[in-house]
């Protein structure tokens, strides 16, 4: 099993690497197109700002590479948002693998960013095998992906949004499995072992 974490100018690649280490998976952090293309599993992490991240991806041709991948891909947090069509964060045109909009939480949702542990429910993917409905996961975000037929998990923060989405070989989660204790660890294990 050859797992790659896409390296770009967004934080938390190291945390994802360590979380994989804890479940016995050694991964490589790289922005080399050939290495990414040849991987069995690709993780696309992200903490940061959408337009800066997209610019970095474009400069390295990763904006064309990522949509062309055929092996399982897991987007995390900003990585999930970048897989969508457009983000309200600095009016950013994203990768468009999911024809979905990324919106800013309204003030009526509560404090923004949402920081902390919230519940996921309506779990419908092998990604969540063994995970109980209404389990808690950790997230930090000001923007959310709207609900759609791609949703495989939902969370409420004033409104209901997609905690996770999937389409073909692409999977994405808004929360941080690498920081979500045992629940997150199991989700990463499922991605590595159950998704093919």
């Amino acid at each position: 099993m050859n797992t790659v974490i896409i390296k770009y100018n967004a934080g938390n690649t190291q945390s994802v690497l360590y979380a994989l280490e804890r479940i016995g998976v050694s991964a490589v952090v790289t922005d080399e197109p050939e290495q990414i293309r040849g991987a069995d599993k690709v993780i696309f992490p992200g903490v940061g700002e959408a337009s800066t991240a997209m610019q970095y991806l474009r400069e390295r041709g990763l904006d064309r590479l990522i949509p062309s991948l055929r092996q399982p891909v897991l987007g995390v947090c900003l990585g999930m948002q970048l897989l969508c069509r457009h983000s309200e964060e600095n009016d950013t045109h994203c990768l468009g693998i999911f024809d979905l909009g990324v919106r800013r939480f309204p003030a009526s949702s509560g404090k923004v960013p949402q920081i902390g542990w919230n519940m996921i429910y309506d779990l419908s993917s092998p990604l969540f095998e063994g995970i109980a409905e209404r389990s808690y996961v950790y997230g930090v975000h000001s923007y959310y992906v709207e609900k759609s037929p791609f949703s495989i998990a939902t969370t409420d923060y004033g409104l209901s949004y997609s905690a996770a989405i999937s389409r073909d070989n692409f999977y994405a989660v808004q929360f941080h499995p690498e920081k979500s204790a045992d629940v997150g660890q199991r989700i990463l294990e499922n991605f590595i072992l159950k998704i093919n």
Partner: protein, 253 residues
């Protein structure tokens, strides 16, 4: 529903925790990594590691420790103590810290908050404020509570948020160490008046003190040290108590 967070705080000197911790079956009482891992297993929602080392070797020792924590601990953690530049922050985040906290350096040079939030994102910039109630108001104190300023805590907190602080860690010095309860008034003032989460610190002594700080002062998180370390309050018991009182918390066991 977003849950209220319970955060144990560990004081670190030269890579070791300063106070012993009364855990059963702990292998090494002074190892922050082992302690952090145990708190995570018990259901802590986050951890704070406060470096009180005062040597030039500090940054390297701390970065090595942060890497060891990040490898072992599967919940988010904040590192604070003596951070005064973007270079300090860059080293700690690269080592695996999720957030950093700044205190005195940010007060002396508020532009630091703008720089940090622009470079690393507000989500990882926690502003720590030590505050003391005197002559009818809560004032900001610096240098670990040794230096008084004339700035009211709320004023400074609001400016800090405008400059990019993503969270406020508020320690009430009058209450700290008393185990007589959190400072509800100033916690409420910041929590209701600011658009970012407020972590209340100082004064926790009983289970009900946590209920009060969440219910009456609307804190988003509560931090404590000795009551957890000395086993006076266990995290599972605290969470069960909060849940029974209708406060949303993350259940783990």
């Amino acid at each position: 529903m977003l849950t209220k967070r319970i955060i144990p705080c560990l004081d670190i000197r030269d890579g070791r925790t300063v106070k012993g911790i009364n855990f059963e079956n702990i292998r090494d009482a002074g190892d922050p990594v082992e302690q952090g891992r145990l708190y995570a297993e018990q259901g802590a929602d986050e951890l704070v590691f406060l470096d009180i080392t005062a040597t030039n070797e500090r940054r390297k020792t701390m970065a090595d420790l942060v890497t060891r924590i990040a490898r072992q601990v599967n919940i988010p953690f904040t590192v604070g103590g003596g951070i005064s530049s973007a270079a300090d922050v860059s080293v700690l985040l690269a080592a695996g810290a999720d957030k950093i906290s700044v205190n005195t350096a940010a007060f002396r040079d508020p532009q630091l908050l703008n720089t940090l939030s622009r470079e690393f994102g507000s989500q990882c910039v926690v502003l720590a404020i030590d505050t003391k109630y005197e002559a009818g108001a809560w004032y900001v104190y610096l240098n670990g509570g040794r230096v008084k300023t004339d700035r009211p805590a709320f004023d400074w907190a609001r400016e800090a948020v405008d400059r990019g602080a993503g969270e406020i860690l508020l320690t009430a010095m009058n209450n700290d160490g008393t185990e007589a309860g959190f400072a509800l008034d100033v916690t409420r003032q910041l929590s209701e008046g600011l658009p970012v989460p407020v972590i209340a610190s100082g004064g926790a002594g009983t289970l009900d003190h946590f209920t009060e700080v969440f219910e009456d002062a609307h804190a988003d998180a509560a931090l404590a040290a000795s009551i957890f370390h000395f086993g006076k309050i266990s995290i599972p018991a605290l969470k069960a108590h909060l849940a029974a009182g209708g406060i949303p918390v993350r259940h783990t066991v």
